[in-house]
Amino acid sequence: MDFTLRIVMTGAALLGLISGSLGTLAVLRRQGLIGDTVAHAALPGIVLAFLLSGSKASVVLQLGAAISGTLAMLWVQSVVRTTRIRFDAALGMALAVFFGLGVVLLSAAQHTAGAAQAGLDRFLFGQAATLLREDLLTMAVTGALALGLVLVFWKEVKLVLFDEAYAAALGLPVRWLQTLLIILLVVAIVIGLQTVGVVLMIAVIIAPAAAARQWSSRYGRVLLLAGLFGLLSGALGAWISNLAPRLPTGPIIVLLLTVLVLLSVLVAPARGLLWQRYRRRRARATAQQAVVAVLQELAHHHPEDYPHPTATIQAALGANVPVEAILRDLERRGKVQHKPGQGWHLTNPPHTP
């Protein structure tokens, strides 16, 4: 396989794996939009890191991005903890304020930092095709560290995600674990920024987890599947974008992920909407057969058009069957007739032997 394609595919797959599995930690707490805030909040960190160090090396800028992303999230957390302001509003405000600060710093750098500042904000645009081998190394090392932490604190993290109060009652340092979760997420986002860019990053965080959740109801499997989905869509997206000119990698990956989520919502075995509809239809058909069977049974002992009250049929089938609705449905299809105030009988009863 071609070298560039290999690099880009590896990079995109790594990104998908890392942000897919780490993103699950946020999505399961209904906090997926953290990704949006952290990605935007990276800007001031990037500019400051450059202004302080004078270097535009990816690692330096990523470090700055991670620090300001973490600060933004700590701000969000303490606002939510000490005021009546909800999580979403705190996130939105942190997003806009930090990005605004980034723009301020950027416009200041344009005037003061000379020619060296050129292209700083490019860091926020996805440029998957120009990933370098050293980028892959950074991604692999930080990603492995982050995923390693998830493994090490596996059951503690799971408990904090599911039931904070119980975790606290068991004596776990909940506050500390939550901060760990945020840092892990920040790592995932900063890693992905230069591949898919600030706007699309959030999809890479949310979509794999959202898709994976449809396929399994086990925490570990959801995490694993999310990582797998991320990895596959990353690699596949990079490959597709290679097929024709002017197919930017980031958007292709995001659209693939979107399709994956939609498919999952529709066809995943237990939760899929299509299956649900199919099961409902089957259940209704079975119930209809049961109602008809009851009426047939009753017809053996009564005159053909003897009306049987709903209550009688209901009693035969148990309280869980929506007998009334089924009878109305059958009536519409001409299978039964209703005598007002009296009850139901089959239009086409079996002949009494």
Binding site: V27, R30, Q31, G32, L33, G35, D36, V79, T82, T83, R84, I85, R86, F87, D88, A89, A90, L91, G92, M93, A94, L95, A96, V97, F98, F99, G100, L101, G102, V103, V104, L105, L106, S107, A108, H111, V199, L200, I202, A203, I205, I206, A207, A209, A210, R213, Q214, R246, L247, P248, G250, P251, I252, V254, L255, T258, V261, V265, R271, L273
Partner: protein, 375 residues
């Protein structure tokens, strides 16, 4: 009018226009919909450009608004499946729409300067240079008129729908029972948000729009207890953050919109810290002040409580009190001194006793406390 004044006016009008629908977004916990819309309009703009080949064409704004509404609709649709949560629905829809936009640009308009930045970001600094003229008479910046119109529309609509929206925001079920069609109201509000976002970011840029939609209402929420105060304060605070924002931009010679967005955060931070009663500082000071009152009341109650119990001599002994109340003996001494100063406590040797005044206060405390207390 000087350009600075014009920029300020536009900023103030925009802030006010954004704060109104923003206030409802914040209450409905949908703040990030503003961000979603601001990104998801891209395909609308690109298609508009491909159709008209003109970045100024009004069709672009119409289509942008339409994609904004589509965003809201799709988010709703995904959420209604019950398979995705709101955060996931938002986080899926707008990146997908944005991706479509980027792909369209890359495929069809790459050589054109249809940069996402250039299209998405209006620039507040250029407001004074895009003027409206009528028969040779200068009517001021175009944005001034659009923003004034937007504000007027928002004020008018929210004034008309104030009670319906307020009810639907707090209790959608009650609103439905009263026949207010919460779904319709929801889309009306979202339509308002979409139009506001699109119109406003054309004038001042996306990031400032998001800051102005969420920041001032969030700040107002720290101060207001009632809906009308909340809305009014949102308006005021939005308008106010424009002033120091502009000042900072001027002093440091930096981006105006960025600096206003920053100031929204600073203003929020100040209120968060300094607000009377609810501010961190006020709370801390009150905490310090009340700690003494509180501890003293606690001691009075404690003594009253144990007065007629067999263990009373132990409970009121100054050596056992610190352990029982989990206080240090220094703290106990400070509180004892204060209690004696107020004439509620007296010391009999090592024992601490209630004075009649102290007993009266403690009894009164007991009465006011228990049954009447509600969450």
């Amino acid at each position: 009018m000087s350009p600075a004044l014009e920029i300020l006016l536009v900023a103030v009008l925009t802030a006010a226009a954004c704060a109104l629908p923003g206030a409802f977004l914040v209450l409905r916990r949908m703040s990030l919909v503003s961000d979603a819309i601001s990104h998801a309009v891209l395909p609308g703009i690109v298609i508009g450009f491909l159709l008209t080949e003109n970045l100024q064409h009004p069709l672009l704004l119409v289509l942008a608004g339409a994609s904004g509404l589509l965003t809201v609709y799709l988010i709703e649709l995904l959420e209604k499946t019950g398979r995705l949560r709101e955060d996931a629905a938002i986080g899926l829809v707008f990146p997908a729409l944005f991706s479509v936009g980027v792909l369209l640009i890359a495929q069809l308009a790459d050589q054109v300067h249809l940069d996402t930045d250039a299209v998405l970001l209006g620039e507040l600094a250029f407001v004074p240079f895009d003027r409206l003229q009528w028969q040779g008479i200068d009517l001021g910046p175009r944005a001034l008129w659009t923003m004034a119109g937007l504000l007027l529309m928002n004020v008018l609509l929210l004034w008309l729908l104030y009670k319906e929206l307020t009810l639907a925001t707090f209790d959608a079920a009650a609103a439905a029972v009263l026949g207010f069609r919460p779904i319709l109201l929801h889309y009306l509000l979202m339509g308002l948000v979409a139009v506001t976002v699109v119109a406003a970011f054309h004038a001042v840029g996306a990031i400032l729009v998001i800051a102005l939609m969420i920041g001032p209402p969030a700040t107002a929420l720290l101060l207001a207890r009632r809906m009308p105060t909340y809305l009014l304060l949102s308006l005021l605070i939005g308008a106010l953050s424009a002033l120091p924002g502009y000042g900072m931009a001027r002093v440091l010679d930096v981006s105006i919109a960025g600096s206003m967005a920053t100031m929204v955060g600073v203003l929020f931070g100040l209120v968060w810290l300094l607000a009377p009663e609810t501010g961190l500082l006020a709370r801390w000071r009150r905490h310090r002040r009340q700690q003494l009152d509180f501890a003293l009341d606690l001691l009075l109650l404690h003594l009253l409580h144990h007065e007629h119990q067999p263990a009373a001599t132990v409970e009121r002994h100054q050596d056992t009190l610190p352990a029982h109340l989990n206080w240090t003996s220094e703290r106990l001494n400070i509180i004892l001194a204060e209690g004696q100063r107020r004439g509620w406590l007296q010391r009999k040797g090592p024992e601490v006793h209630l004075t009649p005044a102290g007993r009266a206060r403690a009894t009164q405390l007991v009465e006011t406390l228990a049954p009447a207390r509600s969450p």
